[in-house]
Symmetry: C2
Subunit: 345 residues, 2 copies
């Protein structure tokens, strides 16, 4: 029996979508219970409307504060001890929950998780990682926004973490790793990424293939796409925006004439499968990789379907013990990287 | 009668695709002639196979050197005086051609264009700009890779250039401008982008709306998306990759059963229209904005269709005198930006 702590106040459509997500998640994951942290005045009325089986799976803990989207990470770690986000995180440390999910302020969530969960030995900065759909199936992409600016060593550690994550989630023995750049040639890009490439080339136990470009993400050129948090976040959100635009345009195309409408009815099954496969909500739920406990980040703009998916990611992560395995493997692998010796700066 | 100088040696599929592109471009633009710069041994055999009407539109100038993808911009400007790219650019300065198109090494092409064409007064660094398809029609996006790292002032000048470009190409009086960031709140992002935002907020004549995120690109939230060249390049190529993946998946979906195949036949017209609208090749051809002459960059991986589109962009840019108007307007507008006075660093 797993217990997931949920920040009911994070995300543009909170708390309604969080409760809707619990209902959806319970359809698939019947053996899970939830600790729900949020504002009583806002949560209780919605909670009262939920079916009994949903209410029975929830323990509601009223909280007094909310960490809004404008709060700086530095401010979040100094105060907000009565916030839904902080208390949800603490419940994991206190052993009351197995993992936590929030769609709230990414910077604050990462800072609080880092402080309370601690990073795996030798990992300087955790990263946000997720699986993304590609032409070839799926790839791991990180960092998606935890670290706005990175040095070469950070990128190298992201590569190590991404490799372990891909190995465990995609079942690939020696996942290929690419650094996201604006060209595949050695001369391309800025100094930080060039430094990371120099170090990674010397790490014989890693399958580093070199630089990849934006279009290599969807192509599935590598199993692990490594970027700083700024670039990774922009790339992921750009991809999501284009997927939504394409789906909308194709849907509209089917509506242009009675012929195309019949065409849609005939092709509906496979087309809806494609739409679902590329629907960003189906890939909601990114892991804070490099931490000793499971913290899953859901999109700020997510809805109940997306947040339910993020809950599913937390459950699957816990059941498969991916995070524990990552923690174990990282402690070993990081020490093998020639990063400590090589210092080109 | 316009004359376009073409670098026959730039791009992965050169020179074949350049000649194929000329043939395609001539179908639409009958009153254009081309100066073709390239390696005689490689170009002549292909040229000989072309129809007479294509050969008649081409003046072939054999060149001795090629600037490969690995050449650094600094090396390109020091040597390569006999290269196809350099001589194509020079033909514009010498008044023999009206504009130049190349799919070659972006950094070298930009450096050589900057040196030979000169920037508009007060513009420190030119940018690569293009029109991208959005849910609302089209937006301007820049920089797409000319400037790997930028300071706040560079981003402000990109905003000014993008605004003028949008006004002239999209016909919008006061185009809205957004800075590409990882969140819309003021606290998000790195110092450079925050500095640019501070300056842009004070520029009353610019319609700066603030930060936008990756998914705002396809949404068409703003008319002008401003980014440093690294982020902009990754975002654009990511978008192109996803568009191609979606098109492939939908095409495959139509092939899964005889029902869906009939569905495709019925919905073919509107569906192919969507595919064409979002086909990256239909948006090939980015302008080096901020220079006194017209230089158009085509994708390194482009084919004849994409390069023909880039040729079309050069022709339309010249016919509509967009570059001349940009040069005029920029000379005025740049001086109005409070950038010179404000120096938050």
């Amino acid at each position: 029996m797993l217990t997931i702590a949920l920040d009911a106040m994070g995300g543009d459509r909170a708390p309604g979508m969080v409760l809707g997500a619990i209902e959806i998640a319970l359809r698939t994951h019947k053996d899970v219970r939830f600790l729900l942290f949020g504002d009583e005045a806002l949560v209780s009325p919605v909670l009262d409307l939920m079916p009994a089986r949903v209410r029975e799976a929830i323990e509601f803990i009223p909280t007094q504060e909310v960490i809004g989207p404008d709060v700086k990470p530095s401010a979040a770690v100094r105060g907000y001890r009565q916030s839904s986000m902080y208390l949800a995180i603490r419940s994991v440390v206190d052993g009351k929950a197995d993992g936590v999910v929030s769609a709230g302020n990414t910077g604050a969530y990462m800072a609080l998780s880092m402080l309370n969960f601690r990073t795996v030995a030798d990992i300087a900065r955790p990263a946000i990682a997720t699986l993304i759909p590609t032409m070839k199936g799926a790839s791991v992409m990180l960092d998606l926004g935890a670290n706005v600016s990175c040095d070469g060593q950070n990128l190298v550690q992201f590569a190590v973490m991404g490799s372990v994550f891909a190995k465990l989630t995609l079942g690939i023995q020696n996942p290929s790793i690419g650094l996201l750049n604006i060209g595949s040639e050695d001369v391309k890009g800025h100094e930080v990424i060039k430094e990371a490439a120099r170090i990674l080339k010397q790490a014989d136990h890693l399958n580093f293939v070199g630089f990849v470009e934006g279009d290599d993400i969807a192509k599935g050129t590598v199993h692990v796409v490594v970027a700083d948090g700024f670039t990774g976040n922009v790339a992921l959100k750009t991809a999501e925006g284009v997927a939504r635009m394409f789906a909308t345009f194709v849907r509209d195309a089917f509506q242009t004439s009675w012929l195309s409408k019949i065409g849609y009815l005939l092709a509906k099954g496979p087309f809806e499968k494609v739409k679902k496969r590329l629907d960003p909500r189906m890939h909601d739920g990114a892991i804070f990789i490099g931490l000793k406990h499971v913290a899953i980040k859901s999109h700020g703009g997510t809805d109940a379907v997306g947040f339910a998916n993020a809950i599913g990611v937390s459950i699957n992560t816990l059941k498969s013990q991916v995070n524990t395995l990552i923690v174990d493997e990282l402690s070993q692998v990081v020490q093998d990287v020639p990063s400590a010796e090589v210092n080109p700066s």
